[in-house]
């Protein structure tokens, strides 16, 4: 078992009391490394003036008027 998986399973057990239910759970947990990489790639690339902002307000702002 990889160190990443062992640490993650232990963390989930500690914080949530949930044990890995099966092998797909472990395989998909390993894929969290891809999630971390995706976040790392985004760092510093997105700058928004009004962050954080309401999603509902954004829906209104982005809608088309007069349709």
């Amino acid at each position: 078992m990889s160190t990443f998986l062992a640490q993650t399973e232990a963390m989930i057990q500690t914080w949530h009391g949930v044990a890995a239910p099966n092998d797909p759970a472990r395989r998909l947990t390993m894929e969290l490394a891809d999630t971390i990489a995706a976040f790392e790639k985004l760092r510093g690339t997105l700058v928004f003036e009004d962050e954080p902002a309401s999603f509902e307000a954004a829906l209104q702002a982005a809608k088309e008027t007069g349709e």
Partner: protein
């Protein structure tokens, strides 16, 4: 009249109104068709013939009494088994709710009933609306009516199948990452995911607080438009529902799309696409161009962020909702359900908050850049030919099956994070005889425009009128 089960929903409603057919005849026709094809398809979880017949008889009495009739008067229907009806079974597709009966009724069910519709059963679905294929450990897998070993799309599997197999006039589905559009595409029917907040979610099983949507699966865009006019709009019992006025969506279906600007993404949505799918989309674009729309190829901005953030939010929210059962009875879930939820517990809160806090700014930036150039986006709903149930069976398949499984929803998930309305309509068939879907997405609250283009497409094509070969009568 030919078999009443072959009528579209609006045709059926209009026929009841004029006395051309009775509600009892509609119900009996659907029932006979269901008995003929459902042993192969497994699209239902429960049925209620006695209760439905009482509704049908009352509906026919109202017609004879010349009572005021709603726009869906006397139309029988079934929905994904997660729309609560007080006192009736609502399994949510799971062993954990096999015998569960809610005490409330969903607002959308109440609105459909007020329009004259009634239900005659509950439809198969992915367990807790959590897979894109149609697998179900507890109630059995749902099978594609065009080629039964192939996936139906999910999570609203029974919704797509029952409408495609012509034993249900309309089914509600839910869409958190594509669960309306995927079965619409895979089963050859029409399915609309509305703008986030457009339709009330009160009385509907939650999966993701911020990404869940309620919408219809129908045989035609016209059917879809009539349903949306009925179910859309603010609901005081769902404070997240928008106060945006609801237009008459059916009236917007004029067929006139001259001057509308269609955008076709050059990034992400065609990556690894199969040739038959690409060919079907290009042919569909030609149909729309012949009606006067223009086509522009463009690169969509921010797609890496949409993918990264969107994947975080729904996983964390599903894991949170299911935490108690994941602690107390994890083996009650299919392995692909619990297995996919489990990593959600490891995602740090700052990732979740960042993903949510950037959703609005990303939507605004995306809309400003994209919708300045085009009015709608057109993509495949599913970019590959359909896989079989066996090839996507995580519970029993080898490592790597997850990748095939998740690829199915790659083209639908982005519009959930962005909150945009998107429809899928049938636009062809792959070499295995399984349907291909055309996805059309627009600005927030542009359901009328999205449906207008989809309807224009259906005026010039017949994919939506074809019946699966399984139907013999």
């Amino acid at each position: 009249m030919s078999n009443p089960a072959d009528l579209s929903m609006t045709e059926a409603a209009d026929a009841v109104r004029t006395g051309a057919v009775t509600s009892v005849e509609l119900l009996e026709a659907c029932w006979r068709r269901m008995e003929a094809v459902n042993p192969v398809l497994n699209a239902t979880i429960w049925t209620d013939r006695e209760g439905a017949m009482a509704w049908a008889l009352a509906a026919d009495d109202a017609v004879r009494d010349k009572a005021k009739l709603g726009p869906l008067h006397g139309v029988p229907m079934m929905h994904k088994d997660m729309y609560y009806q007080a006192g009736k079974l609502s399994t949510c597709g799971s062993a954990l709710r096999r015998d569960w009966r809610p005490t409330v009724t969903a607002t959308v069910i109440e609105r459909l009933a007020a329009a004259g519709a009634y239900t005659f059963g509950g439809l198969n679905m992915a367990e807790f609306a959590q897979n894109p294929t149609g697998h179900n450990k507890t109630f059995g897998d749902c099978h594609n009516p065009w080629n039964p070993p192939y996936i139906t799309g999910g999570s609203s599997s029974g919704s797509g199948v029952s409408v495609a197999a012509r034993f249900n006039y309309m089914a509600l589905g839910s869409d958190t990452g594509g669960s309306i559009r995927l079965p619409a595409s895979a089963d050859g029917v029409t399915g609309l995911k509305p703008t986030q907040t457009r339709v009330s979610r009160y009385g509907v099983m939650p999966l993701s607080f911020t990404h869940d949507n309620v919408g219809p699966l129908t045989r035609t865009v016209k059917d879809c438009a009539r349903v949306m006019t009925i179910i859309a709009g603010h609901d005081p019992r769902d404070p997240t529902s928008a106060r945006e006025p609801v237009p008459d969506y059916e009236a917007a279906l004029t067929g006139d799309i001259r001057g509308l600007r269609i955008g076709v993404p050059t990034n992400v949505f065609f990556d690894g696409a199969d040739a038959p799918v690409v060919a079907a989309i290009e042919a569909a674009l030609s149909v729309l161009q012949a009606r006067g729309a223009s086509v522009t190829r463009l690169t969509l901005p921010l797609m890496d962020a949409v993918a990264a953030y969107g994947g975080i939010v729904s996983r964390v929210e599903a894991a949170t909702i299911h935490a108690e059962w994941m602690r107390s009875d994890p083996q009650a879930y299919g392995a692909h359900i619990s297995g996919r939820m489990y990593p959600g517990y490891a995602i740090p809160a700052p990732y979740y908050v960042e993903s949510l806090s950037r959703r609005g700014p990303i939507l605004q930036a995306f809309a400003a850049e994209v919708f300045a150039r085009v009015d709608v986006l057109v993509t495949p709903s599913i970019r590959t030919c359909l896989p079989t149930l066996e090839a996507t069976d995580i519970d029993h398949g080898p490592p790597g099956t997850e990748t095939k499984f998740m690829a199915i929803s790659a083209n639908t998930r982005p519009f959930n994070y962005l909150g945009l309305p998107a429809i899928s309509v049938p636009c062809g068939f792959d070499p295995n005889g399984c349907p291909i879907g055309l996805q059309i997405a627009g600005r927030p609250f542009a359901e009328a425009r999205v449906m207008k283009i989809a309807d224009a497409y259906q005026r010039d094509t017949d994919f939506h009128t074809r019946r699966p070969p399984l139907i013999k009568d």
